[in-house]
């Protein structure tokens, strides 16, 4: 399962992700200077966002498997008697010399360019010489009589044309970065965006990785990004989706592609007609307001629910939405009614499974809706979240200030990026501030109602307080007007949120009235930049208005900090209102400063010093913190020189020098300076970007700037609570599928999360030292009190203890049946002192006793049939040999588990269950997914005497190596690595039978077919008599499998979704998922033919298991095959080679695996021309692989130093009779392979000088799996009725008679059966046994 990430955006435009398995969040894309993101909409593999410049960006999460696309071009030629094959002979009706495969498009190698700057070519064009698994010589040419005919690798007499394929790979190189999406095909006035939403990843019938990407431009138009898929992560074009005359401000896309949107008027729209053929739908449908005067602001779609926020922050829940049905059923898309929920929020976000996250309207804190599940989508309560940043990030500084250090870097780089660096000396103290806690701050200011302008934007941040001049005040008003006329506000980007939030606007206006009359010619409105650009538009309006004497230049400043490109009025002096002088007062004493301010009659904002940052202040005597922000350009460069003054050049993050003396010196400097600019806004931005930083280094004084101008000199200062880093403005949960909220650490309340830390690990409650002390004391106590008195009689006589219950057991024979028996387990007192199972039964009324010694049992396992869950098998050597294990059925599955657990503990010593699995063991999995290990004993045993002990975990494939490093794959293709622990599973992690166990999850998909038959008049129906199959069946039609009767594999599994029609069933399906055929024995095809009489469609349902086992998850990269080297290693630090095949056929190699570090570090890609299905590493690091088309490849040059080898060589010839190989296992010298039909093949004549061998030799059929070991030992898992035996599915056999003369062996010897799925004997070494 891919990583589940919750995406968060803070007010500074930083983006963070929080993985469900982690406790802390991490910043993403921070190395990319400058790009700040305002909004994010994410899915599992990527995120789309709106940047500070209102452009669309996409962030493709870095994966181990690169995005690699092959471009193919065919070169075509025709034969002519006079010149042979040549492109000149092509007829006019022929395809052109260079074309695509079908020939309908002409394309040349030169014309084919990379789709965007984020792609790179891997190498130059080359000819593909592989033709259906064979190598075509003669330059890769394929011949045919004409172009649209069958091709063959050999020229024949009638071959008139030939073609060959050229390949070139290109790679997407911008993973882990924000990549800007091209907007060339959008008209210029539309190419700024205000909202984006992605979803649709669960829409069936789409290419892999498909995403439905919807955006809204500043003009309210809707565009979709088309053709976004795994090989084209950026999409390839924009398409305008008409919205009539309605302008939209917010949009949301569900996992199944459903789209809802909000208009400027707060009206909610739903897109109808979305289905698998028409992913962008057909029409919009208006949804009535829930209440007369309720206007919506934002909506968030999950799969089956929709939550909306009104402009007042009220929460509405839409009932009746069903994402899976929305493709067919309009009502499921529209839902039924609105329900008002409690809480007030300014942002809301849903996960694909309808979990809800929100940001509080007033407290701006993150909230999670508890109790949301499929049956109660509304949930129970809002629970505050305590999100914490990655500790590694914070630990390099003792205080919270550390955050700002990085932050500062970000800021500076950002500015560098955005503007031309001016080379101004840095480190100039321009601002000092203490950051009051937001809440305090707000409170204070509202109560004071002094001259301050506050814009408590819903999205954001604190408040900003500014002293405005009269003129400015009017400007501000104008500006607000502009805000309310969004459409007219062309010049600046407009934020929908702000627009919608009338309440906030009114709030602003109210505050405006409080603006001081102070006559400050140079001051401009300082507006805290929320991540919404409304602020910027405000400012823009202000400054562009031109009425303000001081500001007539618009400096495009990206306040990357907050969001988007914000045009901020910069005070430039070209209209003569240059402040000639500024008085700057710096005080190291807050009180005096405050006094001064009081005298000035300016706004004073009192804040409590209990804010977390204030501890850092040097002077803590005063509980009043003044936040003054002034910005002074001490640079010699006159800011007149350009309207587009780069803000960055004009002020500087105070790096470390905000001490008083430096301030004073600055003051002096200013005294002599001719030009002086004040950039309050920018300062605020800066401050908000570097809140802690500033504090940590500055004395808590403040600077008041009193610029002189022709008119009057007044002080100007602004109060800015800087924005904390963790001030959230936007969430995206679409990439975060939360199966079980209680398992996600950051969703737990603080106390929960701290107390229930991994209960499997006692050391978290008590330190190992303390435990050792206590244990020592106890041991000492027992020595003193007990051991010295061992001669004394025991008070309690010890007897063995028994477990007893009634069961049924299966009696083999002519009249095989289940018989009632009573089973008793007697166990010795001390662990491992033996014991026995006694079975009492009464054949023909006569009591008989049958005993099985625990030490005789070689294996105990449950059987795979989900309908027989309470049945378990007891294998003894004799019974294994006869393939008649004891079958016991208890009354319930729980009781079976208890018995298994007891028996396993009782026999733990025999099976070596209480120790790490040693190198040299044979690992296997059963059809149930249980994990078994045979650890060789010192003495040689016969194969049917081998002990098989169980380990926890649920796995499909296991591969081990001679060094003992063992990897495994789950049913969901997740790779796991063996931790060296034991136990888990039945014992759970908490028992003493377990060590080093972790949570493990797996997912299975269960299928069933719905069958219908065609009758005249009635048409297709399942009513009536289906003579040849059940109406619900397996793929053969012969087994009854109705949806209702299908059981979970065991009671530990849970359904994770409902039954769904599988539109991706093999063989393609029609619009409703049907496939047609003449009868059930014939192949099915997607369109009904005239002779078709039956049709079927496949349904699937996923289920999920959560278990524990000694397995460690190695990351999100999913694999279909793995192989570890079988060559012995010489030191524990030597690198061990592991190759894997990714889910889409990439060959990967794991770096950094050693015995000490079995999980390794990272994957690197091994380039292949074809997608692979299997790889295997044989002796001397010979790597073998099988491609999807059945071609076999050999790669030399692999070693512990060079993990990837040199190059692929194709192994020819392929096996005869159209056998398509799918799996290969390479031993010390031999290579064995399986084909699609279950035939086993042996590669003949492999010699050191000719390592590819000469040909494939058929060995036998009905083989499911083969594993070849270090000494060429071969073990297989067979299908039912293997050979002449009438045994069941999943028998394990060993090849006998393998000698140097007969390397393919002579026969098979049964090991154990049945019910096995996979075996790896690649670590097993008989020779070591012999020595011991």
């Amino acid at each position: 399962m891919a990583k589940q990430r919750f995406w968060i955006v803070n007010s500074s435009g930083n983006v963070f992700t929080l993985c469900t398995e982690n406790r802390y969040f991490k910043e993403v894309g921070k190395d990319q200077g400058g790009i700040k993101i305002k909004r994010v909409s994410a899915c599992e593999s990527c995120a789309w966002g709106i940047g500070h410049d209102q452009q669309v960006y996409t962030y493709i999460c870095t994966t181990d498997v690169p995005i690699r696309v092959v471009e193919t071009i065919y070169e075509n030629q025709r034969w002519a008697p006079w010149s042979g094959f040549s492109n000149k002979n092509l007829l006019r009706t022929d395809r052109s010399n260079w074309s695509n495969e079908s020939g309908d498009q002409s394309r040349t190698r030169e014309e084919l360019t990379l789709p965007s700057e984020y792609w790179e070519w891997e190498e130059d064009w080359f000819i593909d010489e592989n033709f259906k698994g064979e190598v075509t010589d003669r330059g890769g040419w394929q011949y045919a009589t004409d172009f649209p005919r069958q091709y063959s690798p050999e020229p024949k007499t009638l071959s008139m044309v030939r073609k060959r394929k050229w390949l070139r790979f290109r790679k997407y190189v911008a993973t882990g970065k924000w990549a800007k999406i091209n907007v060339e095909d959008i008209e210029v006035e539309d190419n700024s965006f205000i909202d984006i939403a992605v979803g649709g990843f669960n829409l069936p019938g789409q290419p892999p990785g498909f995403l439905s990407v919807w955006t809204i431009t500043i003009n309210g138009k809707v565009y979709v990004r088309k053709n976004v898929c795994i090989n084209c992560p950026e999409g390839d074009s924009w398409e305008h989706i008409p919205t009539d005359t309605l302008g939209l401000v917010n949009i949301s896309v569900g996992p199944t592609g459903l789209v809802w949107a909000v208009t400027w008027d707060g009206l909610v729209l739903v897109r109808l007609g979305i289905n698998r053929d028409n992913v962008y739908g057909a029409t919009w449908c208006e949804i009535p307001y829930p209440k007369e005067n309720t206007r919506m602001m934002q909506i968030a779609l999950g799969t089956n629910s929709l939550w909306a926020l009104s402009r007042e922050g009220k929460v509405w829940f839409r009932k009746g939405i069903d994402g899976d049905q929305a493709w067919f059923n309009k009502q499921s898309a529209i839902g039924t009614s609105w329900v008002e929920m409690v809480g007030e929020f300014c942002h809301i976000s849903l996960t694909p499974n309808d979990q809800v996250f929100a940001i509080g309207l007033n407290d701006r804190k993150p909230y999670f809706r508890t109790g949301v599940n499929a049956s109660d989508l509304g949930g129970k309560t809002w629970q505050p979240l305590f999100l914490q940043e990655d500790i590694n990030r914070l630990k390099h500084a003792s205080s919270s200030c550390s955050q700002s250090l990085d932050e500062t870097d970000d800021v500076s780089s950002e500015y560098t990026y955005l503007g031309t660096p001016r080379g101004t000396p840095r480190g100039t103290p321009i601002s000092m501030t203490s950051i009051p806690e937001h809440d305090n701050f707000r409170k204070t200011y509202t109560s004071d109602k002094t001259e301050c302008l506050s814009i408590p934007m819903c999205a954001m941040v604190p408040t900003t307080n500014t002293i405005f001049t009269n003129s400015e005040k009017s400007n501000c008003d104008i500006n607000l007007d502009n805000v309310s006329h969004v459409n007219q506000n062309i010049n600046s980007t407009l934020c929908d949120d702000i627009f919608i939030k009338g309440s906030n606007l009114s709030n602003i206006s109210n505050e405006m009235e409080n603006i001081s009359n102070g006559n400050t010619p140079i001051s401009t409105g300082t507006i805290s930049n929320n991540n919404e650009n409304v602020n910027s538009s405000d400012v823009n309006t202000l400054s562009s208005d031109g009425n303000t004497p001081t500001s007539n230049g618009n400096t495009p400043i990206s306040n990357g900090n907050n969001s988007g490109s914000i045009e901020i009025g910069t005070i430039s002096n070209d209209n003569g209102n240059i402040p000639e002088k500024s008085a700057m007062t710096a005080c190291d004493n807050n009180e005096s400063e405050i006094k001064q301010i009081n005298n000035n009659g300016k706004n004073i904002i009192k804040t409590n010093s209990d804010d977390p940052f204030s501890d850092d202040r040097n002077d803590t005597e005063s509980d009043e913190i003044m936040n003054f922000v002034t910005d002074i350009d001490e640079d010699d460069e006159p800011s007149i020189e350009s309207d587009n003054v780069n803000v960055q050049s004009n002020f500087h993050v105070c790096d470390a020098v905000c001490d008083d003396t430096s301030i004073m010196s600055v003051d002096k400097t200013y005294g002599t300076e001719e030009e002086l600019n004040v950039f309050p806004k920018e300062s605020i931005n800066m401050l908000s970007m570097v809140p802690c930083k500033t504090i940590s280094h500055s004395a808590p004084g403040s600077i008041s700037v009193t610029p002189t101008s022709e008119i009057e000199v007044t002080e100007m200062f602004t109060l800015t609570p800087a924005m904390p880093r963790h001030f959230w403005v936007w969430f995206s949960g679409m990439g975060c599928y939360i199966e079980d909220p209680s398992s996600v650490k950051w969703l737990q309340t603080r106390r929960d999360s701290e107390s229930s830390i991994d209960s499997s690990n006692i050391k978290q409650i008590i330190s190992p030292n303390l435990r050792a002390v206590l244990l020592n004391k106890l041991c000492h106590r027992n020595i003193v009190e007990v051991q010295q008195f061992q001669y004394i009689e025991q008070a309690v006589d010890k007897t063995s203890w028994m477990k007893k219950s009634s069961m049924k057991w299966y009696r083999y024979g002519y009249r095989a049946n289940w018989e009632d028996v009573t089973v008793e387990l007697e166990q010795g007192l001390q662990e491992g002192t033996g014991g026995a199972i006694t079975i009492h039964y009464c054949p023909r009324g006569k009591p008989v006793i049958m005993q099985i010694n625990l030490s005789d049992i070689v294996c105990i396992k449950k059987i795979a049939d989900p309908n027989l869950q309470p049945v378990f098998k007891i294998h003894t050597a004799d019974k294994t040999n006869k393939v008649q294990p004891y079958l016991m059925m208890t009354s319930s599955e729980a009781e079976t588990d208890e018995w298994l657990s007891t028996l396993l503990s009782a026999n733990a010593k025999e099976w070596k269950l209480k120790q790490s699995v040693k190198p040299g063991s044979i690992w296997s999995t059963t059809l149930r997914g249980d994990v078994y290990v045979h650890q060789p004993n010192s003495s040689n045993v016969k194969f049917y005497e081998m002990y098989w002990g169980q380990l926890g975990g649920h796995l499909k494939k296991i591969e081990t190596s001679s060094a003992g490093v063992t990897w495994a794959l789950g049913y969901d293709y997740t790779p796991w690595v063996y931790t060296g622990g034991f136990g888990g599973g039945l014992f759970r992690a908490t028992s003493a039978m377990s060590k080093d166990c972790h949570q493990q999850t797996d997912t299975r998909t269960i299928y069933t077919y719905e069958n219908q038959k065609w009758y005249p008049v009635i048409g297709y129906t399942n009513k009536g008599f289906l003579t040849d199959c059940y109406d619900w069946s397996d793929s053969t039609g012969r087994q009854d499998r109705s949806k209702e009767t299908i059981k979970l594999p065991s009671s530990h599994w849970q359904w994770s979704c409902e039954w769904c029609i599988d539109f991706d069933a093999p063989g393609k399906v029609d619009q409703e998922g049907w496939q047609y055929s003449g009868n059930f024995n014939k192949p099915f095809h997607p369109q009904p033919g005239i002779r078709d009489r039956v049709r079927r469609r496949r349904w699937y349902r996923k289920c999920r298991l959560s278990t524990v086992g000694p397995w460690y998850n190695t990351g999100p990269t999913t694999l279909r095959d793995i192989s570890l080297q079988i060559d012995p290693i010489t030191s524990i630090t030597q690198q061990i080679v592991l190759w894997g095949v990714g889910i889409n056929g990439n060959v990967l190699c794991r770096v950094g695996i050693t015995m000490k570090n079995p999980q390794g570090e990272s994957w690197i890609n091994i380039a292949t021309d074809l997608p692979f299905t299997s790889v295997s590493l044989g002796g001397n690091y010979r790597a073998w692989g099988v491609a999807k088309d059945g071609s076999v490849w050999y790669r030399p040059g692999v070693s512990s130093k060079c993990l990837t080898g040199t190059r692929w060589l194709q192994v020819i010839p392929p096996p005869p009779a159209d056998a398509i190989l799918t799996y290969v296992s390479a031993g010390q010298t031999t290579v064995w392979a399986l084909d699609t039909k279950g035939n086993l093949w042996f590669r003949e004549d492999i010699t050191p000088t000719f390592p590819e061998g000469t040909r494939w030799v058929y060995i036998c059929n009905k083989v499911y799996h083969v594993s070849v070991g270090t000494n060429d030992q071969v073990m297989i898992i067979t299908g039912s009725n293997f050979g002449k035996n009438k045994h069941g599915n999943g028998m394990m056999y060993n090849r006998i008679g393998i000698t140097s003369d007969t390397p393919s062996g002579t026969g098979w010897q049964m090991v154990i059966g049945d019910g096995w799925q996979y075996v790896s004997c690649r670590g097993f070494n008989n020779h070591t046994d012999d020595k011991l």
Binding site: S742, R750, R751, D752, E754, S755, S756, S759, S760, I762, I765, I766, L770, R771, V773, L774, L775, K777, L778, C779, H780, R781, N782, V784, E785, V786, Q788, F789, Q790, I792, E793, Q794, A795, V796, K798, T799, W801, S905, T990, S991, A992
Partner: protein, 277 residues
């Protein structure tokens, strides 16, 4: 969840060598019978293990005056409904081995001891304490959800000194992860000549830290200032299961591992042994 089997085993294996003698004044048939030596499990209750003792002494006492057997140590009647280990820690200070206990068949101290009519009485006492403990830990949910046979298995496990039998059920009661986090710690503090102390005490502080044994003692001593407490503790020993756990040990861990089978953490505060200090 209590899962540190090594510790649990060690606790379970705790035995006390006891030397039972018949009270001299009750010897009826001439000679003083030989003392009876027995290794008594700390976790058990005396009436569960003293059948042999009773049989040994019963020939020597006056059949006329023969009543229920009761035990006494240095003049102190031993309450049968306290686990053996608690009685030992509380009265002996751990320094007299084997533990010399006097058996009486006469003069039952009605005011100090409960009668123990049968093993069922012990069982019902034991189960009621287990339930009380679970009421504190999990609001009684776990023990009430158990089947009767699980209750029986707990008891027989204790009675027959079967660690696995007992713990395979008891581990469910000791569940303390996630939702089943202990609400309160079931504990009792014993001091000689005083009734035991039992108060509500949470395993985790408001701040999410684990409360330690020191915290627990502090909370019990209530108003006493820290200095005073330290002063008091200087002359005292805090014994749990016969050992003095470091005061910084989290109480949750102690409760999970050092509780007696009745699921209570029995803490004995005794005077320091003179000759040790």
């Amino acid at each position: 969840m209590a899962e540190d089997r090594e510790v649990l085993r060690e606790i379970w294996e705790g035995r006390i060598p006891v030397c039972f003698t018949l009270a001299e004044e009750e010897v009826y048939s001439g000679e003083q019978p030989d003392p009876y030596y027995l290794l008594v499990p700390r976790q058990s209750y005396f009436p569960l293990v003293t059948d042999k003792v009773q049989r040994h002494f019963v020939q020597s006492v006056d059949p006329e005056k023969h009543g229920e057997m009761w035990l006494e140590y240095e003049g102190q009647p031993l309450k049968w409904h306290y686990p053996v280990g608690v009685l030992f820690d509380l009265f002996t200070n751990g320094n007299c081995l084997p533990w010399k206990i006097t058996a009486h068949f006469q003069g039952f101290p009605e005011e100090e001891l409960l009668h123990c009519p049968s093993k069922e009485a012990i069982e019902s006492h034991f189960m009621s304490v287990v339930k009380e403990a679970d009421a504190l830990k999990h609001r009684g949910q776990l023990v009430n959800n158990m089947q009767k046979k699980d209750h029986k298995q707990l008891w027989t496990g204790l009675q027959n000194d079967k660690f696995d039998q007992f713990w395979s059920v008891n581990k469910k009661l000791m569940e303390s992860s996630g939702e089943d986090m202990f609400k309160y710690i079931p504990y009792r503090i014993y001091q000689i000549d005083r009734p035991y102390i039992q108060k509500l005490f949470r395993p985790v502080t408001e701040e999410g830290d684990y409360n330690t044994l020191a915290d627990l003692l502090k909370s019990v001593n209530g108003g006493e200032s820290t200095d005073n407490r330290e002063e008091v503790l200087k002359n005292r020993r805090v014994l749990i299961q016969g050992i003095e756990p470091p005061l910084e040990t989290p109480v949750l861990w102690l409760s999970e591992h050092l509780s007696y089978p009745d699921n209570f953490l029995h803490i004995c505060i005794v005077n320091k042994i003179k000759n040790e200090s």
